[in-house]
């Protein structure tokens, strides 16, 4: 049953694309998640209200629809700007859509995490004469990170699973390779089971990785 008919190498190439997509989306997702959380916590209502409304709305739309809109919408937008037909790379559209989804959820997690850092810490930092960027990078973010990690783990699991949807807009990721191999070899069950196993293993590997990250983030915390 686990004869991959010579498509093993193709699947492996697909895994690399899947991981690239997941990591690049994770990077931008975390970045925009932090920026979004900062905007939500801003004292300027002109900044906090629109960002809150936007992320709330985003969380009500299926990931798949966001991906489709990103792909076709960005293609149309670029075409109308350039004046001639421009097709956007599915990888770029995928990163755009997945980091948008990720940051919509992550901004809420980071908001809670930033609020969970004791106020005295920030006051102490100010009393030491640290500048605002210094306070943020040295005191606020490292401590908020500790509170945000468990939910980021959940978001990462969803993100990795959602990368499979980008295959529908033509990215040659693991899922797409499996579709092609299924059609050619007429053995869809074999290839979709193999694909499911690969996703399962990737997700299983990331559990101890996140545990290690959490351990590192919590190294300054006294345990009873």
């Amino acid at each position: 049953m686990f004869d991959l008919h010579g498509y093993g190498e193709q699947l492996l190439l697909g895994v690399i694309v899947t991981l690239e997509l997941a990591f690049v989306s994770l990077f931008f997702g975390v970045l925009f998640g932090i920026l979004g959380a900062s905007a939500k916590l801003s004292s300027s209502r002109a900044l906090s209200v629109p960002v809150s409304i936007f992320t709330n709305l985003m969380r009500g739309v299926p990931e798949f629809v966001i991906i489709l809109v990103s792909y076709f919408g960005l293609t149309n937008l670029l075409t109308s700007i350039a004046g001639s037909y421009v097709e956007i790379d599915p990888f770029v559209a995928g990163v755009f859509a997945l980091s948008l989804v990720f940051s919509s959820y992550a901004s809420e997690n980071f908001r809670g995490a930033f609020l969970a850092v004791p106020k005295g810490q920030l006051e102490a930092a100010r009393a030491y004469g640290m500048s605002r960027p210094q306070i943020f990078l040295r005191i606020h973010l490292p401590q908020a990170w500790r509170f945000a990690l468990p939910s980021l783990n959940n978001q990462w699991q969803s993100l990795l699973k959602d990368t499979s949807l980008i295959s529908v807009i033509g990215l040659e990721d693991l899922m797409r390779k499996a579709m092609i191999a299924s059609q050619v070899t007429k053995n869809p069950f074999t290839f979709y089971v193999a694909t499911a196993v690969v996703y399962f293993v990737l997700l299983a590997i990331s559990v101890p990785l996140f545990r290690a990250l959490e351990k590192r983030a919590n190294r300054g915390v006294r345990r009873n």
Binding site: P62, F64, V65, N76, M179, Y199
Partner: protein, 232 residues
């Protein structure tokens, strides 16, 4: 400048029937799979907390398998993968799995059951020990304790999480458009492909936002009803 408003109003007036049909399919998929998933999740969660490994392990494996793989892979595995076997094509389940809509319903229900079971397991463990002891000291059998005390309390405690899972499920139904089901996303994709614009998809997105809002409101009402004793 406001041409986009007429774009959307034309889209609605020309295609409202299509959207209504798609919406109806989406709602049916969500409601039926939620009910089926919930019914499956109750025995699953009980097996999960069982001290007998013969029950606990298969339930754990089931949850891990469905939660550890993408829904899209599961849908393709059931819809395109299973017919590879003659045994499946000759079985009594074939008339059911052959069509996209029933097949999608099966996968969505199995998938949601795994997530629900994990939530319910958390709920069962969160029921205060004193309540279980009180039930036992009143002479209730374990089965009666589960039916009258533990499960209702577990569901009440976990209602907000269950509500999140239902919203996720609603969003997950959009994937059935990949196996030719004309749900709301399917209808919007077809219109978008015909007109080379993304407005039909954006309109679907707006309708999904309204739907998720309604679902979470419904659960809030439900929560107030089930946890009435907590409201001051």
């Amino acid at each position: 400048m406001f041409s986009w408003i007429t774009d959307y109003s034309d889209l609605v007036t020309d295609n409202w029937q299509g959207y209504a049909d798609g919406l109806w399919i989406t709602v049916q998929l969500m409601v039926i799979s939620t009910v089926a998933g919930f019914l499956l999740a109750i025995p699953l969660s009980l097996a999960r907390v069982s001290s007998n490994p013969l029950f606990a392990w298969p339930a754990f494996a089931y949850s891990a398998a469905f939660r550890g793989t993408p829904l899209l892979v599961q849908i393709f595995l059931f819809y395109y993968g299973l017919p590879q076997f003659d045994a499946v094509r000759n079985s009594i389940f074939w008339p059911f799995l052959r069509d996209a809509v029933p097949c999608a319903l099966v996968v969505l229900s199995f998938n949601l059951a795994a997530y629900f079971a994990e939530v319910l397991r958390g709920g069962i463990m969160a029921v205060p020990e004193g309540e279980k002891e009180a039930a036992r000291s009143l002479g209730m059998t374990p089965a009666l304790t589960y039916r009258r005390i533990i499960m209702p309390r577990a569901i009440g405690i976990m209602l907000p999480s269950l509500s999140n899972e239902v919203v996720q499920q609603l969003k997950g139904t959009a994937l059935v458009s990949t196996i030719t089901v004309l749900d709301m996303t399917g209808v919007a994709r077809r219109l978008a492909a015909k007109s080379y614009t993304s407005e039909p998809l954006i309109l679907a997105g707006i309708l999904y936002i309204i739907l998720t809002y309604l679902v979470s409101r419904l659960f809030k009402v439900f929560e107030r009803h089930l946890n009435a004793y907590q409201i001051r």
